[in-house]
C-alpha cells in the first residue's frame, strides 16, 4: 500500500526521495503510468486524467486508487465527446 500511494505521489511531488517505498514507487510509476500520465503527472487534456494534485491521489483514503488500478476506468461517452478513453486493469 505504501508503494502504491508512493507510486502516485511521485506524480504530485517533484522531490527526489531516498525513502525505499518512494524510490520503488517512482520506478513503478515510470514503467506503468508515465507512458500515458507523463513523467510529471500532467496527463493529456480530454484523454488522460491529470494525476498531479488529483483529489483521489491526495486523499488519505486509497480506496479509489486501488479500485482504479484493479478494475481500470473508462470515461463516459457522449455525442459531443465520443472518445470514451479508458485505462486498463493492472490486476
Amino acid at each position: 500500500m505504501r508503494i502504491l500511494t508512493s507510486t502516485l505521489w511521485v506524480a504530485t511531488i517533484a522531490a527526489v526521495s531516498t525513502d525505499a517505498p518512494m524510490t520503488a514507487g517512482r520506478a513503478i510509476y515510470k514503467d506503468n503510468c508515465a507512458g500515458c500520465h507523463t513523467d510529471s503527472g500532467t496527463g493529456a487534456a480530454q484523454l488522460v486524467p491529470r494525476l498531479a494534485r488529483h483529489p483521489a491521489v491526495q486523499s488519505d483514503d486509497p480506496t479509489t486508487l486501488i479500485r482504479i488500478l484493479l478494475f481500470g476506468s473508462q470515461a463516459a461517452e457522449t455525442s459531443r465527446a465520443p472518445t470514451s478513453p479508458a485505462m486498463p486493469s493492472f490486476a
Binding site: V48, T83, P88
Partner: protein, 588 residues
C-alpha cells in the same frame, strides 16, 4: 445449412480502416450496416493494455495480432512452372486480423501517391514513347487522377491526425515539405513529429549531396488532436512499439482511435466479430449479390442478406473473396484474359546499414513513421530517358525501434554467438542505423493470384495461390536507386556501411513488406480491370471491393493513405450516385 438472418442494407466484410470508414459514412445516411469480422473485437485499453502491449515475443515474434496460418494462409510459387506450397509461417508479409485489421499494427506512414503515378502508362508513353515500357510489364493508368482523389486524401489525413509538412500548397512549393508531391488544399492537421538524431543526420547528409529531404508524414501524432468526428487522440510518446503492435495511448491513428468510438455508438451499426465470411452470395443470374454467408466461432453458418456488399478485407483476401464467390472472371496468365487476380504486385526494398564509432543514436526512442524521406528518385521524379527501367523509390530514414529481442544491427562478419558477438552487440546497439529505398513494384503479365488446385483451408476451401517474382525492370530500378543512396551514406563518414541490394528470385520467407497490392484492380476497361473507378465490381454492381487490391501497380510508397482515400472516394460515389440509382456507376 445456413440460418437466414433479417436483411440489412449493407454487409461489410472486414472491419479495418476501409470497413470502418465506409460503415461510418453509410450509417450517416441512415442505412442499416453490419460489419462481419473474422478476428476478435479489439479496443485500446483492454486489447493494447500498456502493461503488456510492449511484449515483443508475443506481438512481434509470434505475430499475435495477425491472421493465423492455421485459420487460413496462401500458397506461393515464383512462376507457373513451379508447384506452389503453403506458407505455414508468415515471413515476407503479414496479413492483419481482427477489428482494426492491419490498421492496428501498421507503422503510421501516410503517403499520397505522385500525380504521375495515377496515369503511369500515359505519362511514360508521353515522355519516353510507348516502346520504352518493358514488355514484361502490364502497367495501367488508374481510372482516377490525383486531383480527383485529393479531397479524399485530405479527409483521411484529417481523420487520422497526420503529422507532416506540406510541400505543395495549392501549387506553391513550400520549404520543408516534399517538393515533388501533388498540390494539396491545406496543411497537414498537425506539424511534423520531433526528429530523432538518425533521421536528422540522414537529412543533413542527403541535403549535402544535393537531394531534397523532408519530414515523412506520420499518423503517429505530434500533438494532441480532436478529429472531425470529435474523437480525441494523444501525443506520441516515442515508445518504439508500433509496427506489429497496437498503440496503448491513443497516439497512433487506427480505426480504434479515429472512427470506432463514433461508429459503435450508432444504433444502425452492428459489428459481428469472430465471424468469417465464407462467400458472397449471388442470385441465379450471377449479376447481383444477395448478401454473404458466414460461419461463427461455434461453427454455425449464417446467411446475412444485404442490398450492398462491401469487400473490405486485407488486399489479397479481397481477391480471394471474389474468386471463391465467382465474382468476375479469373485471370489467366497464358491468355492474359480475365480480371480477378491480375496485376498482383508488391514492393521492392533495398537498404544501407551504417555503423559509427563516434555517434550515439538511442534507437529505442522511436516511432513507427518518424523520419525523413528523399523523393528525388521516386516514380518519374527523375529523367529515365537514358535509363533501362521505369519506376523509382522513396528513400527514407525512419528508425522504428530499438527493441531488446529482435533489434541488433551487427556488421556482416560478426559471429552469431560468443565473446566477439557480445563485444560487437555492445559496440553497435547504440551506434548504428539504417535507411531504406521503398521501391515501386510494377505489375507483370505473369504475376497473379488464383485459387490453389491442391491445398485447402480448415473448411475445405481452396487456398489462394500467389505467383510472384520480381520483374527484371524492378531489380534494375532497385539497383540504380541503391547506387544513388551510397553518397548519402558516405557523406556521414561511418566506420562502415553495408549495402543490402534486392535480387531475384523473390523469397516469401524473409520479412520485407506487408504492402501487397493488386489482384482486383480498378480501371476504365472491364476487360482488364475487376472494378471501376468507384471500386464497384464490373460484373456484380452491388459489390464494391475496397483496398490496395485495387492498385493497378504499386508505387514507391506505403499504401494506406491511398487505400483510405479510395475508401472515402467509394463512399462518396455510393452516397451521391449509387443510392439514388442502384446499378453500374460506369457504363460498360
Amino acid at each position: 445449412m445456413a440460418t437466414k438472418l433479417p436483411a440489412k442494407d449493407v454487409a461489410i466484410i472486414g472491419l479495418g480502416w476501409t470497413g470502418a470508414i465506409l460503415a461510418n459514412e453509410l450509417t450517416d445516411q441512415r442505412l442499416e450496416v453490419v460489419a462481419i469480422e473474422r478476428g476478435p473485437w479489439r479496443d485500446t485499453a483492454t486489447s493494447f493494455n500498456i502493461g503488456y502491449a510492449p511484449d515483443e515475443l508475443r506481438y512481434f515474434a509470434r505475430l499475435d495480432l495477425f491472421q493465423q496460418p492455421a485459420q487460413s494462409t496462401v500458397t506461393f510459387r515464383n512462376n507457373t512452372n513451379q508447384t506452389a506450397l503453403p506458407v505455414r509461417q508468415w515471413g515476407s508479409f503479414q496479413p492483419g486480423n481482427g477489428v482494426g485489421g492491419a490498421g492496428v499494427h501498421w507503422g503510421g506512414q501516410t503517403w499520397r501517391h505522385l500525380p504521375s503515378d495515377f496515369r503511369m502508362r500515359s505519362h511514360l508513353t508521353e515522355h519516353y514513347g510507348a516502346s520504352f515500357i518493358p514488355d514484361e510489364l502490364s502497367i495501367e493508368d488508374w481510372p482516377v487522377t490525383y486531383a480527383e482523389l485529393e479531397p479524399f486524401y485530405d479527409r483521411f489525413e484529417y481523420l487520422a491526425g497526420v503529422s507532416g509538412k506540406a510541400g505543395n500548397l495549392n501549387g506553391v512549393i513550400q520549404a520543408g515539405g516534399n517538393p515533388f508531391e501533388g498540390s494539396r488544399r491545406r496543411e497537414y492537421p498537425l506539424p511534423p513529429m520531433q526528429m530523432t538524431y538518425a533521421p536528422t543526420l540522414f537529412a543533413e547528409s542527403a541535403r549535402s549531396v544535393g537531394y531534397h529531404p523532408f519530414m515523412s508524414p506520420s499518423a503517429n501524432l505530434s500533438a494532441a488532436y480532436t478529429n472531425p468526428l470529435g474523437i480525441r487522440m494523444g501525443q506520441c510518446s516515442f515508445c518504439g512499439f508500433c509496427v506489429r503492435f497496437g498503440c496503448s495511448n491513443y497516439s497512433k491513428a487506427s480505426p480504434q482511435t479515429s472512427v470506432l468510438p463514433v461508429l459503435m455508438r450508432k444504433s444502425n451499426f452492428e459489428a459481428r466479430t469472430e465471424c468469417e465470411v465464407l462467400k458472397v452470395n449471388l442470385d441465379r443470374s450471377g449479376k447481383r449479390a444477395t448478401g454473404v454467408t458466414y460461419i461463427d466461432s461455434s461453427g454455425a453458418e449464417w446467411e446475412q442478406p444485404a442490398e450492398i456488399v462491401l469487400v473490405c478485407a486485407f488486399a489479397f483476401n479481397n481477391v480471394y473473396m471474389m474468386l471463391i464467390s465467382g465474382i468476375g472472371r479469373p485471370y489467366d496468365p497464358d491468355t492474359r484474359e480475365g480480371t480477378v487476380g491480375r496485376n498482383y504486385a508488391y514492393q521492392t526494398w533495398s537498404g544501407i546499414q551504417l555503423f559509427f564509432d563516434d555517434k550515439i543514436f538511442n534507437p529505442f526512442i522511436a516511432s513507427g513513421a518518424c523520419g525523413q524521406t528523399v523523393d528525388d528518385f521516386n516514380g518519374d521524379n527523375f529523367d529515365h530517358r537514358n535509363l533501362n527501367f521505369v519506376g523509382g523509390a522513396s528513400i527514407s530514414c525512419q528508425p522504428t525501434n530499438g527493441r531488446p529481442l529482435t533489434y541488433l544491427p551487427l556488421p556482416p562478419d560478426t559471429p552469431r554467438w560468443g565473446t566477439r558477438w557480445k563485444e560487437e552487440a555492445k559496440k553497435n546497439y547504440l551506434r548504428s542505423f539504417g535507411f531504406t529505398a521503398q521501391g515501386s513494384s510494377y505489375a507483370t503479365h505473369a504475376n497473379h493470384l488464383d485459387l490453389d488446385p491442391t491445398y485447402t483451408d480448415r473448411l475445405g476451401r481452396p487456398l489462394l495461390r500467389m505467383t510472384f517474382d520480381f520483374p527484371d525492370n524492378d531489380i534494375r530500378m532497385s539497383s540504380y536507386i541503391t547506387d544513388k543512396m551510397v553518397p548519402i551514406a558516405k557523406a556521414m563518414n561511418p566506420r562502415q556501411y553495408v549495402v543490402n541490394r534486392r535480387a531475384k528470385p523473390y523469397n516469401v520467407v524473409p520479412d520485407q513488406s506487408a504492402h501487397n497490392t493488386g489482384g482486383a484492380i480498378m480501371g476504365s476497361d472491364p476487360k482488364t480491370s475487376a472494378v471501376n473507378r468507384y471500386l464497384q465490381s464490373w460484373d456484380v454492381p452491388n459489390v464494391f471491393v475496397v483496398g490496395s487490391s485495387a492498385f493497378p501497380q504499386n508505387p514507391g510508397y506505403n499504401p494506406n493513405g491511398t487505400v483510405c482515400a479510395l475508401a472515402f472516394h467509394a463512399a462518396d460515389a455510393i452516397i451521391a450516385k449509387y443510392l439514388r440509382s442502384p446499378g453500374p456507376l460506369v457504363p460498360t
